[in-house]
Amino acid sequence: MRNALLVAGREIGSYGRSLLGWAIGAAALLVEGVWFSANGLSGSRMSADVLREFFNGASGVTMIVAVLMSIPLLAGERERGTLVLLNTAPIRDIEIIVGKYLAALAMIALITLISVYMPLLIFVNGKVSLGHVAVGYAGIVLLGSAALSIGMFTSAVSRSQVMAAILGGLMLAVMVTLWLVAKVTEPPVNSVLSGLALHHQRQFPFMTGVLKLENVVYYVAVTYFFLLAATKTLEARRWR
């Protein structure tokens, strides 16, 4: 774990020194702001609806940010030829994966949380509970964590960043739209597909301020699985 934290610290430092990290954060804020103004501040709407719409938009932005941030983590290193340095370091594959994941997750959480002034603006003229705001953010961070792990997996299996981006985007799109497929299939396949869907059914309770253990476990499970898959992919160079 100590090695993983060392990797995480190094990654976070590089995010801070790179203008790209700040630019991604600013872009995320910009898109969330436009969404909030367009959907939340237009017309006369109920406070809870405005908050739900904000979380809906923010969750989409977070997924995209998560994939963008995860792509360079392994595919970028491989492209630059620096992955070999990590491979030769006295550090296990799982520590590399966990370290990079923790750093990216910390950045995603930070980027997400600095938008907190938007839901707080609702208090000016409306009425929502702080618990609702906290649960909404918890949902977004969990979704970001799952999207990040998917991105890390595609980054681990791809040789180039472009391929990782395409693959990551594709996987995420499939995972998000599974609920649409579930709508046209029959039981019990439809319940399996909708249970696997990353956003629709899982994220909605968070948006409305309901924290369900089932959804938390789901996001943790997805994150765990894809991180494990990414680790196994790194390990696979020994047996392929």
Partner: protein, 652 residues
């Protein structure tokens, strides 16, 4: 690709054994060996197509499933044959491992066919088992075959990927193949565990609701109504599968089912159960049917969440209304007219909120049909037989003696009266109060406390009283339970008292605070001979039915009941619209009058706040959120990165 140091390590270890350049020939692996895994996986796909995609076409299902099963058995058998015939001990070890994973796949298929075919179920004795046992078996067998398929296929595929480059090599590396199969096994077990954990968490249904504004929860009142039913109350909800609105409704119904053993509910897809939908006269989605015996009531929502959201917020009130209709026969509430009552207010009075639309709606929600009762309807002669309640709501003119007599006779034969008297009236309301053996003092009350509702921002506001001094009477049971945080708004009230020597049982259910005085000179100041004391603001009166009355025709409880309020404005739209507690006050009173006091309790209708904007504010927020914050963050980023570059340059 260049060999990386770590990758080179295993090869280097094996170098002495491999003896590079030696003339050792590759082992004679049969040409079909590499195709065993694709054949096995392909066979499983054929079974899937047969069972899942072509399940409705019996002949196609048989062909595909049989071909798939035979293919899987054949591939596994060949794998075992190949393993036993392999002379190289390392290759034999690998083939045996892969054979075991392949055999696990066959076990999965066997479980699937045993659990899903009539022959298999009969052989296992599941066909005759109890529904509970059948459901448990189905669940367990499904989990078992799905997990076994995963545990079989992933390690097989991973192992084959590792083995493929070594098939024609002189020697194979067992450790590589083992590492690959273990990786596959880990991933398949991770999927299985993750799925099972998520499923188990879903079954636990642990949740914390922090939403300020949400789908209404089932109220205690609704649960009491269901529990009070002597027989089963069944609800059939017709929603498309995986519908968001249906999910919300299911949570609501599940909440009732947890506390009411006689409550059953089921969700049905209208298109999959056309006969059931027809029997229940359901022709569209998002319909809730409440069944109690032969009685059927329906509640219609919308299947789209954005359209149904508003109705979900009042689901408890709407469901309770439909439930009451199913539980009890519809009753009639008569509102007296012709004396300037609130229910016929117009013009300036209506503009001020001295109307009774909300009260009418509340009565309808309690399964009453509301009708007018005045001279044209025969009030001067008698109150109609079908009257369950007669409401006299703030008359501004006196009733004719004949009308009062008619109401007295109605009370004597076990009638139920809701009398809302008002001090701001020209007529004498004493005869009306006397029907309930009360005296009404129209002197307006004012308070010396700071507890009043400001309206005109002058001294007259001191007459806008609020009170939370409830008795423990059934007609105010809900409010008395929450009296610490609930007050009833009583603007410009008179006061009530018991008539000397009266027989009926009188309970003053709402009293003013001790700082209230009868403002005789109308200056809203405590002066002259005015004294601070507690005044009675509402009373619940009961009296036995008079001799000679036909008890079989009495609606509701077998006694006269009257609920008298010394301020009609407390029941006006103005007060009921502002204070939800006033709604509770009147609903509980109506329930007590109708003998439904056991149903008392709050109806859950959470209130949301609409966000109103001004254009100026919008502009400020727009630029603040869209331009300000991102620009600030980017600016900070520029500063930080520049500084770190400068520092790095200096160090260099």
């Amino acid at each position: 690709m260049a060999l990386k140091p770590k990758e080179a390590a295993p090869a280097a270890e094996k170098a002495p054994e491999a003896k590079a350049g030696s003339a050792e020939k590759p082992a004679a692996a049969p040409g079909w060996a590499p195709f065993l895994v694709p054949a096995f996986v392909g066979s499983l796909v054929l079974v899937f197509i047969g069972e899942r995609l072509l399940g409705n076409i019996e002949s196609a299902r048989l062909v595909f499933s049989a071909l798939g099963a035979l293919g899987a058995v054949g591939a596994t058998a060949l794998r075992f044959v190949h393993a036993s015939g392999e002379k190289d001990p390392e290759r034999r070890k690998i083939e045996r491992t892969l054979s075991i994973f392949s055999a696990l796949g066959l076990v999965a298929l066997a479980i699937y066919f045993a659990a899903n075919t009539e022959v298999g179920r009969r052989a296992l004795g599941i066909l005759d088992a109890t529904p509970d046992k059948r459901a448990r078996f189905d669940g367990a067998s499904t989990v078992a075959w799905v997990v076994l398929i995963l545990v079989s296929v992933l390690p097989l595929v991973f192992g084959e990927i590792a083995l493929a480059p070594m098939r024609r090599a002189p020697r194979v590396e067992v450790r590589r193949v083992r590492a690959a199969t273990i990786a596959g096994l880990s991933l398949s077990l991770a999927v299985a565990y993750a799925a099972l954990f998520t499923y188990a968490a879903g079954e636990l249904d642990v949740k914390a609701d922090f939403s300020y504004f949400r789908t209404a929860k089932a109220s205690e009142s609704t649960k009491k109504i269901v529990t009070s039913a002597p027989d089963t109350v069944e609800v059939r909800a017709f929603f498309p599968p995986l519908n968001d609105v249906g999910t919300e409704v299911e949570g609501y119904l599940a909440d009732i089912a947890r506390s009411a053993p006689n409550f059953k509910y089921g969700f049905y897809d209208r298109l999959l159960h056309p006969q059931l939908a027809k029997d229940n006269k359901v022709t569209q989605d998002a319909v809730i049917v409440i069944l109690r015996g032969p009685t059927r009531e329906t509640l219609t929502l919308d299947k789209e969440m954005n359209k149904a959201a508003a109705k979900l917020k009042t689901l408890d009130a709407d469901f309770q209304k439909a439930l009451l209709k199913a539980m009890k026969e519809q009753r009639t509430a008569y509102f007296t007219v012709g004396h300037g009552e609130l229910n016929e207010a117009a013009g300036a009075a209506a503009a001020e909120g001295r109307t009774a639309k909300i009260l009418r709606r509340l009565l309808e929600s309690q399964n009453y049909v509301v009708k007018d009762l005045g001279m044209p309807q025969g009030l001067a002669n008698t109150v109609p037989e079908d009257a369950s309640i007669v409401v006299v709501l703030g008359p501004t003119q006196a009733f004719l003696p004949e009308e009062v007599t008619s109401l007295e006779k109605y009370a004597a034969r076990g009638g139920k009266l809701l009398l809302a008297l008002d001090p701001e009236t020209k007529g004498d309301l004493a005869p009306l109060a006397a029907i309930a053996d009360l005296s009404f003092d129209p002197t307006v009350l004012a308070t010396t406390d700071q507890l009043f509702v400001p309206r005109r921002r002058n001294a007259s506001d001191k007459a806008n009283l609020v009170s939370n001094r409830f008795s423990s009477h059934a007609s105010v049971s809900t409010l008395s339970r929450v009296s610490q945080r609930a007050v009833v708004l009583v603007p410009v009230a008179g006061s009530l008292d018991k008539k000397a020597g009266s027989e009926p049982k009188v309970d003053f259910v709402l009293r003013s605070s001790g700082g209230v005085f009868a403002d005789k000179n109308g200056n809203y100041e405590l002066d002259g001979d005015e004294k601070k004391t507690t005044h009675n603001l509402a009373a619940a009166v009961t009296k036995p039915i008079g001799d000679g009355a036909d008890k079989s025709k009495v609606k509701g409880p077998q006694e006269m009941r009257a609920f008298v309020v010394a301020d009609a404005d407390a029941l006006s739209d103005l007060a009921l619209g502002v204070a939800e507690t006033n709604q509770l006050f009147v609903v509980d009173a109506v329930r007590w009058l109708g003998g439904d006091e056991s149903f008392s309790g709050e109806i859950v209708t959470p209130e949301d706040v609409r966000i109103e904007h001004t254009k100026q504010k919008d502009v400020f927020w727009f630029y603040g959120t869209i331009i300000g914050a991102p620009a600030l963050l980017f600016g900070v980023g520029l500063l930080v990165t520049r500084r770190s570059r400068r520092t790095a340059g200096r160090k260099a």
